[in-house]
């Protein structure tokens, strides 16, 4: 009887995931901040991130019939987001001047965004410096390294979900993550 119970559990889980999409507005409300944050951290351009986020949910809406519930809704949405960001980056390569400007502005703004618990000035400066160093390091990572890095360390996704979202094997994700962490540590140097 155990396999039947297991199958029943699996079917129920799939149904639950698929049922989540029934109320698409709720899905949008729930996952919008995550997608926007990921797009913003990847593109470093508010308008582009907003556009990509909208495109992501439009694609999700159009393809919702194809969602079978084999992954969590969040993983499915993030898979679409990863592809949409990637497409946007490819299109933007033709407009490299805009990218350069946006990065220069956003690195400055983002580096200043440090959780402020009013520590000592020195500690605050060190923290700001560390955050800025990671921002700078992530800016020069390869597209896949940066995506894996952001999904792991900003979105707190586990390796299997990242693999599903990126359409890669778990081992490949680990390699991208390892290289990303190595680059970040090198940039951090003695300030970490």
């Amino acid at each position: 009887m155990e396999p039947v119970a297991a199958t029943g559990f699996l079917t129920a889980a799939l149904d639950r995931s698929a049922a989540e999409l029934e109320n698409f507005d709720a899905v949008v409300r729930l996952h919008w901040p995550t997608v926007f944050r990921f797009a913003l951290a990847s593109l470093r351009d508010r308008d582009a991130a907003e556009t990509v986020t909208q495109d992501c949910f439009v694609k999700a809406w159009r393809n919702r019939a194809g969602f079978r519930g084999h992954a969590a809704v969040k993983t499915w949405i993030m898979h679409i987001a990863v592809n949409t960001v990637r497409d946007h980056l490819r299109n933007r390569r033709l407009r490299f001047w805009k990218r350069t400007t946006a990065q220069a502005l956003d690195l400055h703004a983002a580096g200043e965004r440090v959780a402020d618990e009013r520590p000592s000035t020195e500690a605050h400066l060190l923290r700001t410096e560390r955050v800025r160093a990671i921002w700078e390091a992530s800016a020069v990572l390869s597209e896949k390294q940066r995506t894996a890095f952001l999904l792991r360390f900003v979105e707190d996704m586990d390796l299997l979900d990242i693999a599903a979202a990126m359409g890669l094997k778990e081992g490949t994700v680990k390699v991208h993550l390892f290289r990303a962490v190595q680059s970040v540590r090198e940039r951090l140097g003695g300030i970490a």
Partner: protein, 154 residues
Amino acid sequence: MSAHLSAQEISEWAAGMRPREREDHLHECAECRSELTRLQGALSEFRDSVRGWSAEQGSYPRPAWLTERPRVSHWLRWALVAAAMLALVAIPVYRSRLQPQRAETDIDDAVLMEQIDDGISRSVPATMEPLTGLVSWNSADASAPHAKSRQKKP
């Protein structure tokens, strides 16, 4: 206790490559644990920074737009396809209807042009027109005596 974890091993651990012996080492070695904690702390600060910055940008969903837009574009797409098909059919029909009308017009134009040509064409300049009443250039009878007299003169 084994030697401290290398920089690469620390990065591998942070990336999710976590063999059992390294886990054991981290339990025993405060120095390596501290190194890893510093790295994780910096990564947490980065996460807070991204989240704070993103929240500050204030991007909110517009569900009504999201759910309606695909439908609108869907209908728009079909309307454009229908318009293109209609144009493909209508343009040749319209042209075939215009063809006879155009031929009639061409004939009328040609007749009109001939009439105009006849009306405005002159065999002699306008200043010499009064003389044409006195002299008939085409008359053989009229021209013969002159021709004879011209022949006799020399």
